[in-house]
């Protein structure tokens, strides 16, 4: 049986992302707070909220406004029912990491001040523990007693510990707008590209990954971004970051060569992660011919990786139920295994990693009949 499919070229069009890629450079623009107030005033959601305040007769209570002062670290207590256990490794490896530690990046302690004058920490115990520990270790010149060292405290005066508990919850996630995976990636890229600061190895690695993707016209963008309409874009940042630079280079190179007219589907990263690793372990080259034939098969059977993902997910669901008698959860390892097994089913002759053939036994028999019928 000879391999059934030939890849069909699709005319390449200029990709607008080359010019509008938000990671190419920062906006280079600073706005004042008035710009943000103007934006709020134009927002329907904001107007609705301010109307609600008026309707509820609610006003900004200045007596609840936090105070800021410099206080000795010895005045601070930590309520273990409010704050988490101290993570010593976090203090040692992240905050006090000598390669990146900078006092300018320290945050004030957020706390309450009780009527007895005691400060109880709500947030930043790891920061102050680290600072106190560094003084204790004799690493702050001219300061010997951490208890006397004054640190910025931000607090409200209350005896109500439930306030502290709620505040801890808000400051550590609940109610706070979290940084998205994309925003974190963008920060890393801009630290390198705009600030030219290569001191953090994580930032350096992330920028290299992005550069490798961009060199093949693949572009990370924010989830739900309008830019996702352009070819080469993707928003699954965590999976992207889990691959090595070589794996991203190979995956995105394949996408750009054969599917430059499509968005990048997340299955691309899982497939290439496993192809690179399994072929690498078996010391089998991932040949150009194999990669072209895989592209041809995806075109002819599924149209694109998005439809391959739908089909393989459904096949896996049926396979699991038939094999084990109950519904199982999806396994990302099935992408590459199914692809390589389909390749052989349709007459592919290139050498493949054997470890991709003996898992998910008979999975491909559970693909739709209209797909498998094309093998006859």
């Amino acid at each position: 049986m000879t391999f059934k499919f030939n890849y069909e070229e699709v005319v390449r069009k200029p990709n607008p992302m080359v010019e509008i890629n938000p990671l190419k450079r920062g906006k280079g623009r600073t706005v004042n707070l008035q710009d943000r107030v103007d934006k709020l005033n134009k927002s329907a959601a904001w107007k609705k909220t301010t109307k609600l305040w008026t309707a509820m007769n609610k006003t900004f209570d200045l007596t609840r406004f936090p105070q800021v002062s410099m206080e000795p670290l010895g005045a601070l207590d930590i309520d273990e029912d409010i704050q988490r256990e101290l993570d010593e490794k976090h203090c040692a490896n992240r905050i006090a990491n000598p390669a990146v530690f900078d006092p300018a990046l320290l945050q004030p302690v957020i706390c309450i001040k009780t009527s007895k004058g005691k400060f109880i920490s709500i947030d930043a115990q790891h920061t102050v523990s680290t600072v106190a520990g560094l003084i204790d270790a004799g690493l702050m010149p001219g300061v010997t007693d951490w208890k006397e060292f004054k640190f910025p405290f931000m607090y409200i005066e209350t005896n109500n510990l439930s306030y502290a508990r709620k505040a801890f919850s808000i400051l550590n996630g609940k109610g706070k707008k979290k940084q998205s995976q994309y925003q974190q990636l963008r920060n890393s890229v801009f630290v390198i590209r705009i600030d030219k600061d290569r001191s953090d190895e994580d930032d350096v690695k992330v920028e290299k990954l992005v550069a490798a993707a961009e060199s093949h016209l693949c572009f990370p963008v924010e989830e739900d971004s309008t830019l996702l309409k352009h070819p080469g874009t993707f928003s699954n940042i965590s999976t992207f970051k889990s691959l090595s630079i070589n794996e991203i280079d190979t995956a995105c190179g394949w996408h750009d060569k054969y599917f430059h007219y499509e968005g990048v589907h997340v299955s691309l990263f899982f497939i290439y992660r496993d192809l690179c690793r399994e072929f690498g372990s078996a010391k089998i080259p991932l040949s150009e011919k194999l990669q072209e034939e895989l592209a041809a098969m995806i075109q002819k059977l599924f149209g694109n990786l998005s439809q391959f993902q739908e089909s393989v997910t459904e096949a896996h669901r049926r396979w699991h139920e038939k094999s084990y008698g109950y519904k199982g959860s999806w396994n990302d390892d099935a992408y590459a295994c199914a692809l390589v097994q389909l390749y052989q089913k349709f007459g592919g002759k290139e050498k493949v990693a054997p470890t991709l053939l003996d898992r998910f036994d008979n999975l491909i028999e559970f693909f739709d009949e209209d797909i498998m019928g094309l093998a006859d």
Partner: protein, 118 residues
């Protein structure tokens, strides 16, 4: 065989969708709108390819989608015609010649029954 259809609403708005049973789907449109609704074009072919084209309309043709509040419908916004949509789909099929989809019916409604195909 699976189907991608391009639908014209009673008011003349262009839309699109996918279905295994296009006759049943056309009946549902009629039932909702209280009138005969025409599938201006029905393309038949491989399920995965029909779905891939529909997905491409939703993403790469997204500037032309009719959005109601924040809901992205399967209809096109004012000013984008059935001719525009048909031209876009045909352009896709021409550029991506591996798609196995062809027009099997035009100006269809359920009263015509099922279309004979080879």
């Amino acid at each position: 065989m699976y189907h991608l259809y391009l639908v014209t609403s009673v008011g003349g708005r262009a839309g699109f969708g996918i279905a295994t049973d296009y006759r049943e789907r056309n009946k549902q449109y009629a039932s909702h709108s209280g009138d005969i609704v025409k599938f201006s074009y029905i393309y038949g072919g491989l399920r995965t390819h029909a779905k891939a084209i529909e997905r491409t309309i939703k993403t790469q043709f997204s500037d032309n989608i009719w959005i109601v509040d924040d809901w992205k419908t399967e209809w096109l916004k004012d000013g984008v015609t059935m001719q525009d949509l048909k031209a876009y789909v045909d352009q896709l099929l021409k550029e991506r010649s591996f798609y196995r989809l062809t027009v099997i019916a035009e100006d269809y409604d359920f009263k015509q029954g099922l279309i004979a195909t080879n």
